[in-house]
Symmetry: C2
DNA sequence: AATAAATGAGTGAACGCTCACAATTAAATT
DNA sequence: AATTTAATTGTGAGCGTTCACTCATTTATT
Protein backbone atom coordinates (compact mmCIF):
# COMPACT_ATOMS: atom_id res chain seq x y z
CA UNK A 1 0.00 0.00 0.00
CA UNK A 2 1.07 3.59 -0.59
CA UNK A 3 1.53 6.41 1.88
CA UNK A 4 -0.70 9.39 1.21
CA UNK A 5 0.09 11.38 4.33
CA UNK A 6 2.71 13.48 2.55
CA UNK A 7 0.14 14.36 -0.10
CA UNK A 8 -2.40 15.29 2.55
CA UNK A 9 0.10 17.60 4.20
CA UNK A 10 0.97 19.17 0.85
CA UNK A 11 -2.68 19.81 0.12
CA UNK A 12 -3.22 21.29 3.57
CA UNK A 13 -0.29 23.73 3.30
CA UNK A 14 -1.20 24.74 -0.23
CA UNK A 15 -4.83 25.31 0.67
CA UNK A 16 -3.84 27.31 3.76
CA UNK A 17 -1.69 29.64 1.72
CA UNK A 18 -4.32 30.19 -0.94
CA UNK A 19 -7.08 30.64 1.64
CA UNK A 20 -5.07 33.41 3.26
CA UNK A 21 -4.07 34.98 -0.06
CA UNK A 22 -7.44 35.01 -1.78
CA UNK A 23 -10.00 33.97 0.79
CA UNK A 24 -11.70 30.61 1.08
CA UNK A 25 -14.58 31.23 -1.29
CA UNK A 26 -12.37 32.70 -3.99
CA UNK A 27 -9.99 29.76 -3.78
CA UNK A 28 -11.12 26.94 -6.06
CA UNK A 29 -10.40 23.25 -5.86
CA UNK A 30 -8.61 23.63 -9.19
CA UNK A 31 -6.45 26.37 -7.67
CA UNK A 32 -5.39 24.13 -4.82
CA UNK A 33 -4.86 21.08 -7.01
CA UNK A 34 -2.85 22.84 -9.70
CA UNK A 35 -0.73 24.79 -7.19
CA UNK A 36 0.00 21.61 -5.25
CA UNK A 37 0.63 19.71 -8.49
CA UNK A 38 -1.99 17.04 -7.87
CA UNK A 39 -5.27 16.06 -9.49
CA UNK A 40 -8.58 17.38 -8.24
CA UNK A 41 -9.79 13.92 -7.34
CA UNK A 42 -6.78 13.41 -5.08
CA UNK A 43 -7.95 16.19 -2.81
CA UNK A 44 -11.17 14.31 -2.15
CA UNK A 45 -9.26 11.24 -1.07
CA UNK A 46 -8.00 13.22 1.90
CA UNK A 47 -10.77 15.72 2.62
CA UNK A 48 -14.54 15.40 2.35
CA UNK A 49 -15.12 18.84 0.86
CA UNK A 50 -13.65 22.28 0.59
CA UNK A 51 -15.61 23.40 3.65
CA UNK A 52 -14.37 20.47 5.69
CA UNK A 53 -10.80 21.21 4.62
CA UNK A 54 -11.15 24.84 5.67
CA UNK A 55 -12.68 23.84 8.99
CA UNK A 56 -10.12 21.14 9.76
CA UNK A 57 -7.34 23.59 9.01
CA UNK A 58 -8.96 26.13 11.30
CA UNK A 59 -10.26 24.14 14.23
CA UNK A 60 -7.26 21.89 14.72
CA UNK A 61 -4.76 24.71 14.87
CA UNK A 62 -7.03 27.23 16.56
CA UNK A 63 -7.71 24.97 19.51
CA UNK A 64 -4.10 23.76 19.65
CA UNK A 65 -2.89 27.34 19.94
CA UNK A 66 -5.36 28.04 22.73
CA UNK A 67 -4.18 24.95 24.62
CA UNK A 68 -0.56 26.01 24.13
CA UNK A 69 -1.34 29.48 25.46
CA UNK A 70 -3.13 28.05 28.47
CA UNK A 71 -0.34 25.65 29.30
CA UNK A 72 2.11 28.52 29.02
CA UNK A 73 0.29 30.93 31.33
CA UNK A 74 0.08 28.25 34.01
CA UNK A 75 3.86 28.32 34.28
CA UNK A 76 3.78 31.87 35.65
CA UNK A 77 2.34 33.33 38.80
CA UNK A 78 1.53 36.97 38.23
CA UNK A 79 -0.74 38.57 35.69
CA UNK A 80 2.18 40.58 34.40
CA UNK A 81 4.32 37.50 33.78
CA UNK A 82 1.46 35.51 32.31
CA UNK A 83 0.61 38.33 29.96
CA UNK A 84 4.22 38.80 28.92
CA UNK A 85 4.60 35.10 28.18
CA UNK A 86 1.43 35.05 26.12
CA UNK A 87 2.36 38.11 24.10
CA UNK A 88 5.79 36.61 23.40
CA UNK A 89 4.03 33.45 22.28
CA UNK A 90 1.91 35.38 19.80
CA UNK A 91 5.07 36.97 18.38
CA UNK A 92 6.90 33.67 18.11
CA UNK A 93 3.89 32.08 16.45
CA UNK A 94 3.62 34.82 13.87
CA UNK A 95 7.30 34.69 13.02
CA UNK A 96 7.34 30.89 12.82
CA UNK A 97 4.25 30.58 10.61
CA UNK A 98 2.76 33.89 9.44
CA UNK A 99 0.42 32.19 7.03
CA UNK A 100 -1.14 29.99 9.69
CA UNK A 101 -1.24 32.92 12.11
CA UNK A 102 -3.09 35.01 9.54
CA UNK A 103 -5.54 32.24 8.80
CA UNK A 104 -6.37 31.73 12.46
CA UNK A 105 -6.23 35.23 13.87
CA UNK A 106 -6.30 37.86 11.16
CA UNK A 107 -8.47 36.62 8.30
CA UNK A 108 -12.13 37.38 8.80
CA UNK A 109 -13.82 34.27 7.49
CA UNK A 110 -16.88 32.40 8.61
CA UNK A 111 -15.03 29.75 10.63
CA UNK A 112 -15.43 31.69 13.89
CA UNK A 113 -19.20 31.20 13.68
CA UNK A 114 -18.67 27.46 13.99
CA UNK A 115 -16.74 27.89 17.24
CA UNK A 116 -19.08 26.97 20.08
CA UNK A 117 -18.91 29.03 23.29
CA UNK A 118 -17.61 26.13 25.39
CA UNK A 119 -14.51 25.78 23.23
CA UNK A 120 -11.40 27.29 24.78
CA UNK A 121 -9.84 29.81 22.42
CA UNK A 122 -7.00 32.30 22.62
CA UNK A 123 -9.60 34.93 23.51
CA UNK A 124 -11.13 32.98 26.36
CA UNK A 125 -7.70 32.14 27.79
CA UNK A 126 -6.72 35.79 27.69
CA UNK A 127 -9.96 36.82 29.37
CA UNK A 128 -9.55 34.19 32.06
CA UNK A 129 -6.01 35.32 32.86
CA UNK A 130 -7.01 38.97 33.03
CA UNK A 131 -10.06 38.20 35.18
CA UNK A 132 -7.96 36.31 37.71
CA UNK A 133 -5.36 39.05 37.75
CA UNK A 134 -7.99 41.63 38.56
CA UNK A 135 -9.51 39.39 41.22
CA UNK A 136 -6.09 39.16 42.87
CA UNK A 137 -5.67 42.90 42.76
CA UNK A 138 -2.82 42.78 40.24
CA UNK A 139 -4.66 45.17 37.94
CA UNK A 140 -7.37 47.76 38.57
CA UNK A 141 -11.03 46.85 38.39
CA UNK A 142 -12.22 46.97 34.79
CA UNK A 143 -14.33 45.17 32.27
CA UNK A 144 -12.57 41.98 31.34
CA UNK A 145 -13.92 41.85 27.80
CA UNK A 146 -12.80 45.40 27.10
CA UNK A 147 -9.37 44.77 28.57
CA UNK A 148 -8.92 41.59 26.56
CA UNK A 149 -10.00 43.30 23.36
CA UNK A 150 -7.54 46.16 23.83
CA UNK A 151 -4.60 43.91 24.65
CA UNK A 152 -5.39 41.57 21.79
CA UNK A 153 -5.79 44.56 19.49
CA UNK A 154 -2.31 45.84 20.27
CA UNK A 155 -0.77 42.53 19.27
CA UNK A 156 -2.98 41.62 16.33
CA UNK A 157 -2.91 44.99 14.60
CA UNK A 158 0.86 45.02 14.74
CA UNK A 159 0.71 41.59 13.12
CA UNK A 160 -1.59 43.04 10.45
CA UNK A 161 0.88 45.86 9.79
CA UNK A 162 3.66 43.30 9.53
CA UNK A 163 1.59 41.15 7.16
CA UNK A 164 0.97 44.18 4.95
CA UNK A 165 4.64 45.14 5.00
CA UNK A 166 4.05 48.39 6.88
CA UNK A 167 6.34 47.05 9.58
CA UNK A 168 9.47 45.23 8.43
CA UNK A 169 10.97 43.87 11.64
CA UNK A 170 10.07 40.46 12.99
CA UNK A 171 7.41 40.58 15.66
CA UNK A 172 9.84 38.94 18.05
CA UNK A 173 12.12 41.96 17.70
CA UNK A 174 9.22 44.10 18.88
CA UNK A 175 7.95 41.79 21.56
CA UNK A 176 9.19 43.72 24.60
CA UNK A 177 7.63 46.89 23.23
CA UNK A 178 4.39 44.97 22.80
CA UNK A 179 4.57 43.44 26.24
CA UNK A 180 5.15 46.86 27.79
CA UNK A 181 2.34 48.46 25.80
CA UNK A 182 -0.10 45.71 26.75
CA UNK A 183 0.79 46.10 30.38
CA UNK A 184 0.31 49.85 30.19
CA UNK A 185 -3.13 49.27 28.71
CA UNK A 186 -4.11 47.04 31.61
CA UNK A 187 -2.29 48.75 34.45
CA UNK A 188 -3.65 52.22 33.98
CA UNK A 189 -7.22 51.21 33.21
CA UNK A 190 -10.13 51.48 35.60
CA UNK A 191 -9.18 54.86 36.99
CA UNK A 192 -11.44 57.60 35.71
CA UNK B 1 -37.42 60.36 -17.28
CA UNK B 2 -37.43 58.27 -14.14
CA UNK B 3 -35.34 58.61 -11.03
CA UNK B 4 -33.21 55.57 -10.28
CA UNK B 5 -31.10 57.06 -7.52
CA UNK B 6 -33.27 55.51 -4.80
CA UNK B 7 -32.81 52.12 -6.37
CA UNK B 8 -29.07 52.60 -6.62
CA UNK B 9 -28.94 53.51 -2.95
CA UNK B 10 -31.03 50.45 -2.06
CA UNK B 11 -28.72 48.19 -4.03
CA UNK B 12 -25.65 49.75 -2.40
CA UNK B 13 -26.95 49.29 1.15
CA UNK B 14 -28.13 45.75 0.49
CA UNK B 15 -24.83 44.78 -1.11
CA UNK B 16 -22.88 46.35 1.74
CA UNK B 17 -24.76 44.34 4.31
CA UNK B 18 -24.37 41.06 2.44
CA UNK B 19 -20.69 41.72 1.69
CA UNK B 20 -20.05 42.16 5.41
CA UNK B 21 -22.20 39.18 6.39
CA UNK B 22 -20.93 36.62 3.91
CA UNK B 23 -17.96 38.19 2.18
CA UNK B 24 -17.85 39.62 -1.31
CA UNK B 25 -17.11 36.44 -3.22
CA UNK B 26 -19.75 34.42 -1.39
CA UNK B 27 -22.36 37.09 -2.07
CA UNK B 28 -24.01 36.52 -5.44
CA UNK B 29 -25.76 38.99 -7.69
CA UNK B 30 -28.91 36.92 -7.17
CA UNK B 31 -28.47 37.35 -3.39
CA UNK B 32 -28.29 41.10 -3.68
CA UNK B 33 -31.14 41.36 -6.16
CA UNK B 34 -33.56 39.12 -4.27
CA UNK B 35 -32.74 40.72 -0.89
CA UNK B 36 -33.21 44.18 -2.33
CA UNK B 37 -36.35 43.04 -4.15
CA UNK B 38 -35.17 44.04 -7.59
CA UNK B 39 -34.27 42.17 -10.76
CA UNK B 40 -30.71 41.12 -11.50
CA UNK B 41 -30.59 43.25 -14.60
CA UNK B 42 -31.46 46.35 -12.60
CA UNK B 43 -28.23 46.06 -10.69
CA UNK B 44 -26.30 46.41 -13.93
CA UNK B 45 -28.13 49.64 -14.76
CA UNK B 46 -26.36 51.22 -11.79
CA UNK B 47 -23.08 49.32 -11.49
CA UNK B 48 -20.75 47.91 -14.12
CA UNK B 49 -20.00 44.70 -12.29
CA UNK B 50 -19.90 43.12 -8.87
CA UNK B 51 -16.25 44.06 -8.51
CA UNK B 52 -16.93 47.66 -9.43
CA UNK B 53 -19.78 47.77 -6.92
CA UNK B 54 -17.54 46.43 -4.17
CA UNK B 55 -14.79 48.90 -5.05
CA UNK B 56 -17.11 51.90 -5.29
CA UNK B 57 -18.58 51.03 -1.93
CA UNK B 58 -15.10 50.77 -0.47
CA UNK B 59 -13.13 53.57 -2.06
CA UNK B 60 -15.74 56.28 -1.75
CA UNK B 61 -16.33 55.76 1.93
CA UNK B 62 -12.77 54.82 2.83
CA UNK B 63 -11.32 58.01 1.45
CA UNK B 64 -14.18 60.11 2.81
CA UNK B 65 -13.51 58.80 6.30
CA UNK B 66 -9.82 59.59 5.99
CA UNK B 67 -10.60 63.14 4.89
CA UNK B 68 -13.03 63.52 7.80
CA UNK B 69 -10.37 62.32 10.23
CA UNK B 70 -7.80 64.69 8.79
CA UNK B 71 -10.12 67.67 8.95
CA UNK B 72 -10.93 66.78 12.54
CA UNK B 73 -7.34 66.50 13.76
CA UNK B 74 -6.54 69.90 12.30
CA UNK B 75 -8.97 71.46 14.76
CA UNK B 76 -6.77 70.51 17.69
CA UNK B 77 -3.28 71.54 18.69
CA UNK B 78 -1.72 68.80 20.75
CA UNK B 79 -1.11 65.17 19.92
CA UNK B 80 -3.21 64.19 22.89
CA UNK B 81 -6.21 66.21 21.76
CA UNK B 82 -5.88 65.16 18.16
CA UNK B 83 -5.68 61.52 19.16
CA UNK B 84 -8.66 61.82 21.48
CA UNK B 85 -10.74 63.45 18.76
CA UNK B 86 -9.82 60.77 16.27
CA UNK B 87 -10.60 57.91 18.61
CA UNK B 88 -13.96 59.48 19.43
CA UNK B 89 -14.60 59.75 15.72
CA UNK B 90 -13.93 56.04 15.25
CA UNK B 91 -16.41 55.28 18.03
CA UNK B 92 -19.08 57.57 16.62
CA UNK B 93 -18.61 56.10 13.17
CA UNK B 94 -18.99 52.54 14.42
CA UNK B 95 -22.14 53.35 16.40
CA UNK B 96 -23.69 55.30 13.53
CA UNK B 97 -23.03 52.68 10.86
CA UNK B 98 -21.49 49.43 12.12
CA UNK B 99 -21.99 47.70 8.81
CA UNK B 100 -20.07 50.31 6.85
CA UNK B 101 -17.42 50.46 9.58
CA UNK B 102 -16.95 46.72 9.35
CA UNK B 103 -16.74 46.80 5.58
CA UNK B 104 -14.09 49.51 5.59
CA UNK B 105 -12.02 48.67 8.64
CA UNK B 106 -12.66 45.17 9.90
CA UNK B 107 -13.40 42.91 6.95
CA UNK B 108 -10.29 41.50 5.36
CA UNK B 109 -11.06 41.61 1.68
CA UNK B 110 -8.92 42.36 -1.33
CA UNK B 111 -9.94 46.01 -1.69
CA UNK B 112 -6.94 47.23 0.31
CA UNK B 113 -4.64 45.95 -2.43
CA UNK B 114 -6.23 48.45 -4.81
CA UNK B 115 -5.39 51.35 -2.51
CA UNK B 116 -2.36 53.12 -3.94
CA UNK B 117 0.27 54.45 -1.52
CA UNK B 118 -0.41 58.09 -2.34
CA UNK B 119 -4.03 57.83 -1.22
CA UNK B 120 -4.65 59.31 2.21
CA UNK B 121 -6.25 56.72 4.46
CA UNK B 122 -7.16 56.55 8.13
CA UNK B 123 -3.85 54.79 8.72
CA UNK B 124 -1.74 57.44 7.01
CA UNK B 125 -3.53 60.23 8.86
CA UNK B 126 -2.94 58.51 12.17
CA UNK B 127 0.74 58.01 11.35
CA UNK B 128 1.13 61.63 10.31
CA UNK B 129 -0.41 62.90 13.53
CA UNK B 130 1.74 60.65 15.70
CA UNK B 131 4.89 61.54 13.76
CA UNK B 132 4.30 65.27 14.27
CA UNK B 133 3.52 64.74 17.92
CA UNK B 134 6.81 62.94 18.44
CA UNK B 135 8.67 65.60 16.47
CA UNK B 136 7.23 68.21 18.83
CA UNK B 137 8.27 66.22 21.85
CA UNK B 138 4.69 65.47 22.91
CA UNK B 139 5.43 61.77 22.98
CA UNK B 140 8.65 59.80 23.41
CA UNK B 141 10.76 58.82 20.41
CA UNK B 142 9.40 55.62 18.91
CA UNK B 143 8.66 53.95 15.63
CA UNK B 144 5.69 55.66 14.10
CA UNK B 145 4.39 52.58 12.30
CA UNK B 146 4.49 50.52 15.47
CA UNK B 147 2.77 53.23 17.47
CA UNK B 148 0.05 53.66 14.88
CA UNK B 149 -0.54 49.92 14.71
CA UNK B 150 -0.90 49.61 18.47
CA UNK B 151 -3.26 52.55 18.81
CA UNK B 152 -5.35 51.41 15.86
CA UNK B 153 -5.40 47.91 17.28
CA UNK B 154 -6.85 49.06 20.58
CA UNK B 155 -9.76 50.71 18.81
CA UNK B 156 -10.38 48.19 16.04
CA UNK B 157 -10.24 45.07 18.17
CA UNK B 158 -12.77 46.56 20.57
CA UNK B 159 -14.92 47.18 17.51
CA UNK B 160 -14.43 43.54 16.51
CA UNK B 161 -15.53 42.41 19.98
CA UNK B 162 -18.56 44.65 19.72
CA UNK B 163 -19.39 43.30 16.27
CA UNK B 164 -19.20 39.74 17.61
CA UNK B 165 -21.36 40.59 20.61
CA UNK B 166 -18.59 40.00 23.13
CA UNK B 167 -19.00 43.61 24.19
CA UNK B 168 -22.56 44.89 24.48
CA UNK B 169 -22.14 48.60 25.16
CA UNK B 170 -21.94 51.15 22.40
CA UNK B 171 -18.40 52.11 21.51
CA UNK B 172 -19.22 55.70 22.37
CA UNK B 173 -19.90 54.61 25.94
CA UNK B 174 -16.36 53.24 26.05
CA UNK B 175 -14.68 56.04 24.20
CA UNK B 176 -12.97 57.72 27.16
CA UNK B 177 -11.55 54.36 28.22
CA UNK B 178 -10.26 53.92 24.69
CA UNK B 179 -8.84 57.41 24.51
CA UNK B 180 -7.03 56.87 27.80
CA UNK B 181 -5.70 53.46 26.77
CA UNK B 182 -4.44 54.77 23.44
CA UNK B 183 -2.68 57.61 25.17
CA UNK B 184 -1.07 55.23 27.64
CA UNK B 185 0.18 53.17 24.72
CA UNK B 186 1.85 56.22 23.18
CA UNK B 187 2.95 58.07 26.26
CA UNK B 188 4.89 55.29 27.91
CA UNK B 189 6.51 53.96 24.78
CA UNK B 190 10.10 54.48 23.77
CA UNK B 191 11.57 54.03 27.21
CA UNK B 192 13.34 50.70 27.51
C1' DA C 1 -1.28 -10.25 -6.59
C1' DA C 2 -3.45 -7.23 -3.58
C1' DT C 3 -4.38 -2.87 -1.83
C1' DA C 4 -4.55 1.87 -1.49
C1' DA C 5 -3.42 6.38 -3.86
C1' DA C 6 -3.75 9.19 -7.76
C1' DT C 7 -6.00 10.53 -11.97
C1' DG C 8 -8.89 13.72 -15.03
C1' DA C 9 -12.85 13.74 -18.07
C1' DG C 10 -17.49 14.19 -16.92
C1' DT C 11 -21.85 16.04 -14.27
C1' DG C 12 -25.38 19.04 -12.78
C1' DA C 13 -25.76 23.25 -10.46
C1' DA C 14 -24.73 27.92 -9.84
C1' DC C 15 -22.20 31.79 -11.31
C1' DG C 16 -21.76 36.78 -13.50
C1' DC C 17 -23.62 39.06 -16.94
C1' DT C 18 -26.63 40.27 -21.33
C1' DC C 19 -30.42 41.84 -23.98
C1' DA C 20 -34.93 42.23 -26.08
C1' DC C 21 -38.70 43.97 -24.06
C1' DA C 22 -42.14 46.21 -20.63
C1' DA C 23 -43.20 49.86 -17.49
C1' DT C 24 -42.87 54.49 -15.95
C1' DT C 25 -42.67 59.42 -16.07
C1' DA C 26 -41.16 64.19 -17.34
C1' DA C 27 -41.42 67.05 -21.30
C1' DA C 28 -43.48 68.29 -25.63
C1' DT C 29 -47.43 68.78 -28.36
C1' DT C 30 -52.10 69.31 -29.01
C1' DA D 1 -56.12 69.98 -19.57
C1' DA D 2 -55.50 66.07 -22.22
C1' DT D 3 -52.64 63.44 -25.13
C1' DT D 4 -48.49 62.00 -27.27
C1' DT D 5 -43.63 61.42 -27.29
C1' DA D 6 -39.13 60.09 -25.90
C1' DA D 7 -35.94 58.83 -22.72
C1' DT D 8 -34.75 56.23 -18.87
C1' DT D 9 -35.47 52.54 -15.49
C1' DG D 10 -36.82 47.91 -14.49
C1' DT D 11 -37.32 42.97 -15.98
C1' DG D 12 -36.06 37.94 -16.10
C1' DA D 13 -35.20 34.13 -19.22
C1' DG D 14 -31.14 32.80 -21.27
C1' DC D 15 -25.97 32.64 -22.34
C1' DG D 16 -21.39 30.79 -21.83
C1' DT D 17 -18.38 29.75 -18.13
C1' DT D 18 -16.79 27.94 -13.99
C1' DC D 19 -17.76 25.73 -9.83
C1' DA D 20 -17.53 21.60 -6.34
C1' DC D 21 -17.59 17.12 -6.64
C1' DT D 22 -17.76 11.94 -8.72
C1' DC D 23 -16.08 7.64 -10.47
C1' DA D 24 -14.19 4.29 -13.69
C1' DT D 25 -9.59 3.62 -14.54
C1' DT D 26 -4.54 3.73 -14.02
C1' DT D 27 -0.37 3.88 -11.23
C1' DA D 28 2.51 2.80 -7.45
C1' DT D 29 3.85 0.15 -3.35
C1' DT D 30 4.13 -3.97 -0.49
Amino acid sequence: MRDGSKTKELIARTALQLFVEKGITATTIRDIASTAGIAEGTLYRHFDSKDQLAWELFSTNYLAFARELDRLQEEYDTLRDKLAAMVRQFCAFFDRDPVLFSYLLLAQHGQLKKVTPEMETAVTVLQKVIARGIARGEAPEMEVELAAAMVLGVVLEVAVFKAYGRITQDLSALRESLVAACWRVLDGAGAP
